[in-house]
Assembly symmetry: C2
Homo-oligomer: 377 residues x 2
């Protein structure tokens, strides 16, 4: 059992817990707001039953004591007594947070380059459909690498929806519940040609952009048409390490993206190419030469630096050392975290055979929820 001590400081405004060799200070109002008792949190669904306005403004910790594995706390003026497990307090400590450089990543994110063994993030369609632990492992790869593959799926139109059914919900758009990726005569989008496509994230002109994309192969007899994925977080961090000012410049200003290619559709978004949380966590990348609209939100004096960083980011993304390449066979598919991992295809000769993929969008909330629930099961 842990040796733990609590003391009350600053006339009750702060409680200090010393446990496991570390000090954890908590403000009285924070403790009261996060009380775990049944009058504060609904027992069944865990939702908070009170608002901050229900907590008196001058709330203090009147008394605090370690009792076994818990800390008993009494708040004044409410005269409310509650208990917090010691481990809960340690887990939720906000004292002494480490300083982190802009562009930091969450602990469970692992970046990759061409050295990633694509086989290590590849599972069998049938196995993840039947086996919950295989599904959890595959979803874990998507969460960690932002990319994973499937083999041995049915060569059937619409089969990609069965993948989404395993973890979440399709994001339907003007492209439909899913869309055909093959050569068209009058393409509404360059994706529907045999042109090579520079690595990109999809639909940056949409806000919110879809956070997941699946591409599923039904036919691939053409010469060329290989698939590539590039970790945009790795690329952004390379830029940061080479040129911190350029990285900061791309993050500090909004780009614009636009799609106006079909009747009745006009999509427009104003978002940065490199998106940081307020505390500098790297949380998103938008990169798409086809739909990049004129950038008009960068001050004149910074535009040169902005374009230099934009150019360098593109060079890093185009660097063969970054790309995981593969050619999909019918029944194979891959999924990317579209806020992070770019995908590309090499051009192909339409005359040499057919290439037919289907694509769809989905969102990470459902995937991460399913993953969390599977891990907890």
């Amino acid at each position: 059992m842990t040796t733990a001590n609590v003391s009350v400081e600053q006339n009750g405004a702060v409680m200090r817990l010393t446990a496991g060799g570390a000090d954890h200070r908590f403000h009285a109002v924070w403790l009261r707001d996060n009380a775990l008792d049944d009058a504060t949190r609904a027992p069944g669904n865990g939702q908070r039953l009170i608002t901050l306005g229900d907590i008196p403004a001058g709330t203090i910790v009147a008394d605090a004591a370690v009792t076994g594995d818990e800390v008993a706390v009494t708040f004044a003026p409410e005269e409310k007594a509650v208990r917090f497990p010691l481990t809960w307090l340690q887990t939720h400590s906000y004292d002494q947070r480490p300083a982190r450089a802009a562009g930091w990543l969450a602990d469970d994110v692992q970046t990759f380059d061409a050295g990633l063994d694509a086989g290590a993030v590849t599972a069998s369609f049938e196995e993840i459909s039947l086996n919950q632990s295989a599904l959890a492992s595959w979803l874990g790869d998507v969460a960690r690498y932002g990319f994973a593959r499937l083999t041995d799926g049915p060569v059937t139109s619409g089969a990609l929806l069965k993948i989404v059914d395993l973890f979440g919900y399709v994001r339907e758009t003007n492209y439909g519940k899913w869309f055909e990726v093959r050569t068209e005569i009058n393409p509404s989008n360059l994706a529907y040609t045999s042109l090579g496509l520079q690595a990109h994230t999809d639909n940056p002109y949409r806000d919110p952009a879809p956070t997941l994309q699946i591409l599923y192969c039904l036919e691939n007899a053409a010469e060329g048409g290989d698939s590539q994925v590039i970790d945009g977080f790795r690329a952004a961090q390379r830029l940061r390490d080479e040129d911190p000012d350029g990285f900061a410049c791309l993050a500090a200003h909004c780009a614009r993206f636009e799609y106006n290619g079909a009747n009745g559709v006009h999509l427009l978004a104003r978002r940065p190419m490199i998106e940081l949380a307020p505390d500098g966590e790297l949380i998103g990348l938008r990169f798409n030469n086809r739909s990049a609209a004129p950038i008009t939100d960068v001050p004149f004096d910074e535009m040169e630096r902005y374009y230099a960083a934009y150019r360098r980011l593109g060079e890093i993304i185009d660097d063969p050392a970054m790309a995981v390449s593969f050619k999909m066979a019918p029944g194979e598919s891959f999924i990317v975290d579209n806020t992070r991992v770019l995908h590309a295809r090499t051009g192909y000769a339409g005359s040499s055979g057919n290439r037919w993929l289907q694509g769809c969008y989905a969102d990470k909330d459902g995937l991460l929820s399913t993953l969390s629930a599977l891990r907890a099961a």
Copy 2:
């Protein structure tokens, strides 16, 4: 016709356009990247056919001249000649952008408080279904105010989906394509009780959060159960004007939101309550006492200020001067921009009659696209 002059400066790195009494400087690389010719932009769908890597690094403007309503520009070393309409250059000028205080809003956003005449943002379900100009007007209200109402809809389960069909696509979630809002015996969410609900945005524990929500009334015979909407942007700007440091503190740190109320569902997001674009545009609000998880991303020394601002923001949101209140009759509905407008309900006496709403989520990209296309038609 406009009197216009162009000159080339800094050895071709910059072109200066003087037109309509204003100076507009453009960098050579920016002009080349945004060339409008058929080799740069695909004629049919307008997508860019080249990448920044296709543009030589040392690109300069070798020559520029006004010819009629256009500016003819020749780039070196490509020796590429293109033309830009004068009006296009003026529209896309990035020279001399105004400085704006954090929390600024896009020009087409208009904030509201209790003084908003709800009737002015109310349309007939049948009219917007049949009349494109009525639809454009109603969608324009959603874009401008983040809130609009409909009357005279069918009193039929699932009718709310017909509203979404008019402009976009449902965002399906673990709650379904749509969900029932009525008193349940073992509620997985406090929304499914007769409790009053403090004004909130929905699903802040989801990332991306749904950007639109529709609530549709099928039965409302209970005493109480009134609906309220509050403009979160107005509330955030009130906080900013009263307490700029508190506003900045809420924007500078991530809150956490969590939902763990049903089997197989565990949703968690780390996002700020007040979301700003990198250049300070106010673009989102997340506020929900029920699903607010312990805030652990605020440094100890700022937690007191953070909680004071959080409390004050809640007081502003609860201020009756902020709320537009109404009681929905069967067949009536409302839509909110869930990134901006909070909604609340007063408690009701379940014994006094039934209250039955249906809700669904959708996204703004489709709505704004439809609105833009209708306006252009």
